[in-house]
Every structure is written in C-alpha cells, then in structure tokens.
Amino acid sequence: MTLPAALYFLALIGGVVLSFLRWRKLRHGFRFLALALIFTLVSESYLKLLYHFKWDLPRSYALFTPLFFGALIAVYLRILPKFWPRLLAGIGLAAVLLKGGLELGKFEMDFFPLTSVSFDILVLVFIVLLGFRHMLQYPNEESLLRNPFFLMSAAHVVYWSFSYVRIGSMPAYLELVSANNRWFESLHTWLSVVYYALLAYVIYLASLKRTHD
C-alpha cells in the first residue's frame, strides 16, 4: 500500500470512528454524512477483498455509488430549510437512487460506470450550490473555518469537480497511464486524503454545536 493510500484509509477510519463516537450528538442532517463515511469504509474494505479474490468489482460499485451519493444529498435535504431547495434536493435524491436501482437490476458492464457516476456528481454539485446560496441568504456569525456546512460543501465541490474532470478526461488519462505517467492519479489520491480528513473534521465540528440550519 502506498503512502497516500494508507493516509486515505487512516482519514476514512478516523471519520467512521468519530461518527460512531459522536453519533448521538450529531444532528440528523450530519448523520447522513456519517452514514456516507461508513458506506465508504465498508465498501472500500469489502471491495479490496473482492478485488483480491477477483470477484465482481463493478457490481459492488454500482451498489455502493447511489447509496453514497444518496447519503450526501440527504444531508442537504435535511439541512436546507426552504421548500424549493428541499424539493430540488428531494428530486435529486430520488433520481440518484432510482437510476442506481435500475442500473443494479440490469447490470452488465465490464468497467466502472463513468457516465452514471458523472450524473451523480452533477446532481450533488448542483445541490451543494443550493447550499452555498442558502448560506449567502442566511449568514451567521461563525467563521467559515469553523462552519461544518461550509467546509463540507467546499470539500464536495472541490473533490467532486476534480473527480468529474478526471472522468471527463479519462481517454487522455488512460493515455497518460499507458505512458507510465501516474501523477494525475496520485494527485487524485492525495485529494481523497484531504477530502475524507475534512469530512471527519466536519463530523467533529457538527457534533460540537448548532450551525447552518
């Protein structure tokens, strides 16, 4: 296991441990974020096993992806107070889960479903932008660096936009990989480390006090 991969697992395990320890103090919105972290850890460890035994890797991802994105969207569904943003978040959640269910039912792909994940990312980023709009409408006294809602939203936007770019430039990426140029992949892994460490910090902050809801 490489250093960034080890750190990635460490950050993820830290987030999950915090989620269990602080579960009772988390408000319902952030409990979905904790669930998303738990899904990720289960899926990552389970998928490593599957990979080890050469089992059906893509099908497991197809199960995990809608659950993961669904949980991330559900955070916003719970926290956004106004009717229209909530309705849009609800529609987004339903679309992601429905698409995931349909795909799982007739799953015959040989490789990771990139177009499908791109759709989930777009829905999530759109709802995160609604979250930013909500913050501008209802600012509070808290510093942004202590505001779990902002940190979570910023982390989602940066990480998932980067992932989107990665998926979009996959042909170019494959060309790079084939040329033994791994820096782009390594950058993504380091970004994952920061992302999951930040989400763990968000869980910690959200369990301390009331914030943007």
Binding site: M135, L136, V158, F162, S169, P171, E175
Partner: protein
C-alpha cells in the same frame, strides 16, 4: 501529448480554475453578507433595547399614576373626612384638638403635593416647569433644603412624553441628593436655548465617585439611557461640596425620539 490529451487537460484546468474563482468569490461575498448581518443584528438589538426602556418607563409611569390616584382618591379623602369630624367634635382639650387638625391639614397638603408630583398627568397638564417648581417647593418644606430654582430663556415645549421623561430624571437626581448627598443647598438651573434644553442640578453635598455610584443603584445609568432615548446626553461631575448633573437635549432629537 496528443490533441485529445491536450483538450482534456485544457478543459479540466479551465473547470478547476473557474471552481477556484467561484470559491474565492463566494468567501468574499459571504464575508460581506456576514458584516451586513452583524449590522442588521446590532440595529435590531438596539431597537429592542430602546423598546424595552420605553416600556420600562411606561410601566413606571403607570405605577406612579396608580399610586398618585390611590393617594388622592383614598388617603386624602379619608383624612379630609377625619379632619371634618375632628372640627365638629366637642373635644375636651381644645389645644390638642387644634394641633390634631393642624397635623391632618398638613398631611393632606403634603399628600396632595406628593400625588401631584407622582402623577405624570400633572406634568402633561401643567408642563414640566410648574411640576418642577411644585417638586422643589415640596422638597424644601419636607427636607429643609435651601432650593434655588432659576429659569432662563423662553420655554420651548418638548413632546409630552419627553417632558415626563425629563421630569422623572430630574426627580431621580434630586431624590439622590436628598438621600445620599447630605447637602444643604440645591440649585436647579433650567435654560431653554434656541436649539436645545439644558438642565443643571447642582448641590453642595459630599459628592460621589461615578464608578462607585454606578454600582449602588442610584439610577445613573437609567438616567443616561432615558436621556439618550431622547437623543440627549447626561453628564455627571462630582467633588466634595460641588456636584453637578447636566442634561442637554437638542429639541429636534427629542421630537424625533418621542
């Protein structure tokens, strides 16, 4: 790099740059909104505080009103009746009877005066100057203070509620002089200028330290707040033998506030 690779990376770089720009703009905008929010909150809190003081003043006014009514309608009537009975009664000791009558008459007179100065209506009906004069008379008689009340300039009418507030503040200052200053002389100077009213209340008592007095419940901060509510300022200067409280109220500010 092939053309496809270059296009992919160009697009990706552009998207990520836009994203970075978006986050920077968001943080800037959010900071501005935070500042606006803070300002709105401060104004709201100030309004709430002012509303609180106003209602506090109203409650005090109502209580004093009820008290004045009670003294006038109940106590004074009973004393008057007792006075009449005593006059009609055939007492065995005429000097004692005369003395009782005199005492009761004095009590009725004092109660009537007290009732007048307690009631805000007296200020509303007769104006602040007459009410102050009445108060000064009463104090001089009751406490043996030598009171000097001077009026300069033509009286510029304040809003009715503003007059009641100024009167209550003056009353509180005078009451502090009687209770704590051990003064023998009290000087009240009322000056109505073209643009503002200046009221100075000075005494030759033992004086006080402002920092000590604010914690003793002398109502100094209340007086300041009430005057500030009218858009004026109240200053306290004190040393042994010479203490002065000055109230300055611009007419324009007072009419806006009340």
């Amino acid at each position: 790099m092939t053309e496809l690779t270059e296009t992919g990376f160009f697009g990706g770089t552009l998207l990520l740059s836009l994203l970075a720009l978006f986050l920077v703009l968001f943080v800037g905008k959010y900071r501005r909104r935070q500042m606006e929010h803070r300002e709105e909150k401060r104004i709201l809190e100030q309004k709430l505080r002012e509303a609180g003081y106003e209602s506090q003043v109203e409650i005090i006014e109502k209580t004093l009103e009820d008290l004045a009514q009670e003294i006038h309608d109940n106590v004074c009537q009973r004393l008057t009746l007792a006075n009449m009975y005593l006059r009609q009664a055939k007492a065995e000791e005429p000097p004692l009877r005369e003395e009782s009558i005199e005492l009761i008459e004095q009590a009725i007179f004092d109660l009537r005066n007290l009732s007048k100065v307690l009631s805000g209506n007296y200020v509303l009906e007769h104006g602040i100057l007459l009410a102050l004069e009445k108060e000064v008379q009463r104090l001089g008689m009751v406490n043996g203070l030598s009171v000097d009340f001077t009026i300069n300039g033509e009286h510029h009418l304040l809003e009715a509620s503003a007059e009641v507030i100024v009167f209550r503040c003056a009353q509180e200052v005078i009451s502090n002089v009687i209770k704590h200053a051990k003064a023998s002389e009290l000087c009240i100077h009322w000056a109505s200028g073209m643009k503002a009213l200046d009221l100075r209340i000075c005494d030759n008592g033992c004086g006080f330290r402002l920092s000590d007095a604010e914690g003793k419940g002398l109502g100094i901060s209340n007086i300041r707040k009430r005057i500030a509510l009218l858009g004026g300022i109240c200053t306290f200067q004190s040393e042994a033998g010479n203490t002065c409280v000055s109230i300055h109220i611009p007419y324009q500010a007072a009419s806006k506030s009340s």
